[in-house]
Symmetry: C3
Subunit: 316 residues, 3 copies
């Protein structure tokens, strides 16, 4: 693997899923592969799960990690070419990535969307600028439109349910704030590459980017979508058409037991953090069918697989 910007960077996802499940049996079996190597973890936005799991993954392989909390304000980088830098930006992305590429063997980047400038977000402005100018591999720790480390972990969790050909429903849920599309987008992309059957359900105003969902059924009645579902993946996202807006809260889209009763005893998944009794009721989240802890645990192993494959590529 040359880099990990999106789930499509994994050449054979079903095989990769099987390999991670093997890796989990013995996560410390490659403690030296990263020895003497360093990974920069650049955070433009805060992170708890991704930071911890990615760092643990790297250290399981013997890498040293350096966390750079640059903030969206505190390291004003100029991304445009041929510009006169007499404004707020004190460093150009060319030099920023040159410095990081000099000091580190891998650069992992987290950078959320603006949810205001649609074209800029869709172009993956920040992630792609890092990728374009860096001379070492770049890893996406959640970008404007994707969160592939999460979706790879989810792919593993789904496989571990051992359900044969599960019917998976990605369900929009209520949320008081405007939330990015990245987790939902990467989940849909992951289902396509893993050959998982996926259906999306959301209120009419909340259709995801049609270029990403093309070929995937989108059902605007949640209860109908839940019929015979084996797995419910809950996630909020803001409007794509009315970009970044939250114009109606649709509280009735909460996942509760009554809705789970419509399914085939469906497992419940969510990437966390989750707002209890807004996104999902306590009874569902605390039930035996909830897979959230497994999802959390698999974040380490999916990241470890990605880092290992990139190091393999670098040294080959």
């Amino acid at each position: 693997m040359k880099q990990f910007l999106s789930i499509s960077d994994i050449p054979d996802l079903p095989q990769a899923i099987r390999q991670v499940i093997e890796l989990k049996q013995n996560p410390l079996s490659n403690p030296l592969i990263g020895q003497g190597k360093r990974m920069a973890m650049v955070f433009f936005n805060p992170s708890l799960r991704t930071r911890c799991s990615t760092q643990i993954a790297a250290e399981n392989l013997g890498l040293k990690t350096f966390t750079l909390d640059v903030g969206s304000q505190t390291w004003p980088i100029e991304f445009r070419l041929n510009t006169i830098m007499d404004g707020k930006s004190s460093e150009h992305i060319k030099e920023a990535t040159m410095v990081l590429s000099s000091y580190f063997d891998l650069i992992a980047v987290r950078s959320f969307p603006t949810l205001k400038k649609k074209e800029q977000d869709l172009s993956e402005f920040i992630l792609n600028s890092f990728h374009q100018h860096a001379t070492v591999p770049v890893i996406n720790m959640e970008s404007a439109t994707q969160h592939p480390l999460q979706s790879f972990a989810d792919a593993i969790t789904i496989k571990e349910t051992q359900i044969t050909k599960p019917k998976i429903v990605l369900s929009w849920t209520p949320h008081p704030k405007a939330i990015p599309h990245s987790v939902a987008n990467s989940f849909v992309e992951m289902c396509r590459f893993a050959d998982y059957d996926c259906v999306i359900t959301n209120p009419p105003d909340y259709d995801l980017n049609p270029e990403i969902t093309k070929g995937i059924p989108v059902i605007h009645q949640q209860e109908k979508a839940f019929e015979n579902a084996d797995i419910i993946y809950a996630k909020n996202w803001s409007s794509f058409q009315h970009y970044g807006q939250v114009f109606k809260h649709h509280r009735e889209w909460i996942i509760n037991q009554k809705k789970i009763d419509l399914t085939n005893h469906a497992k419940f998944m969510h990437c966390l953090p989750v707002r209890r009794n807004v996104v999902v009721s306590d009874e569902v989240l605390d039930s035996e069918n909830s897979l959230i802890q497994q999802q959390v645990e698999n974040r380490v192993f999916s990241a470890q697989y990605v880092i290992k494959k990139i190091l393999d590529h670098v040294s080959s």
Copy 2:
């Protein structure tokens, strides 16, 4: 030791003190006991001494530490059960501790009191929520009402004076700001468990929580309390009755040489940081009788003992 929430979690304090004094001779004698293990250090409030000493202690045992500066604002956690999370809190303590318990073998927490909501502070709301929901041991790095790692270090420092049955005076001192009761509370509790003779002196309006001080003499005239003292432990705290208030500064309660002259050549102790010439005069703090550097050094060894005993318990 299953956890370390308060000084009473050490089953036999006099024995533990002797064991730490032995440990100090060779602090790197157990470099592998924590190998492959990780400790999360969660800071809701800033820390210098506690952060450095606890991290060094953990690394002396081979543990890896992860510092999570969550801030009291930046990680708005919901602690109440059965609540609809449509406000500021984006994550529930149940999920927060589940995630930390998945990724770490130990969770150390620092969280100061509100000094406004007395009942909430006294219930040790945050520390106990972590303890209740985590599935791995929790270590108190200073909570709403206690600072047991400090008091354990102080117990060792007192033992190292080699004074037989010292008379110890915990003296309130002036301070311009409202300060928690945690160090004073844990000091009193430590003296009880270590079988040290302790007297408290403070202005009448500054009596500590009577449930903690019961059985310990409280003297409202500082000079009388200092007679025959072998050790003066200086500390400010805000009012407990008029909870969290600083209604009178009592500048005359400063510890200076004139007051030390009333004692039995008393040693001087303070947990730092200390405001010079407000809490204590330069002459006393800089004198040979000041034990502050020993107190600082013993913070490493007390933390190392606690972590080791918890790891021993986990693997037994």
Copy 3:
């Protein structure tokens, strides 16, 4: 080396430069010299390059590093002696350095000038307070008036050009903000100790501290200074006479190809971060004659040399 406060702490700079060029061949040849030792990296101001390179240098030697982002506001230290600390400062430099000296074997400090209080900046108030009170060696990671780790790296980069007796021009460049004198000062000092021929060029109002530049030609016409130059070192600084002011921007002082054409095919150097098309044009910065990446890489090796020499001294 007992400490590293300024470039003059390197006893024989030409010899040190040769030794670093050897060290670069095998930077991991001393992985155990720092084992069991710890370095505190105290940042009163933000840092990217210095933080990464110094930390990598320390870890190449087996040291553990602890980053303390104290901020210029968040750790209000009292530096004055004999003062009554009833204001904002909660800790005195005496205790702060005592604590750090207890826990660490080396203390590295970064602290920028006020650019307002000239006498205080010139006295190196913060750096010298650390040096004076600490009982372990102190390393300057950029102070009020100096940045010797940068200049040492620059000395190595100049040597690596293999130009015999290069004519070096330190050229003032435009910048929208008030910038410290530290890089320029240390560069001039470094040239003196390395026996490099250096000429300074800047607008008349921007002469550096004459005590530092004495004996070095200062030319107020940039184009004249550039004649026959082999190396152009670009750097902005605010006024020294009208202390800390930027009263005229002199946009015409930008380094562009037309000016490089006046030189002897000069190499271009800058310490970064650099404002493109304000300080230097894209064409020059992106040309083959630009040495900025080598300067970045040499930051690791210069820091590693300094730390190693200090550890050698401590253990001798």
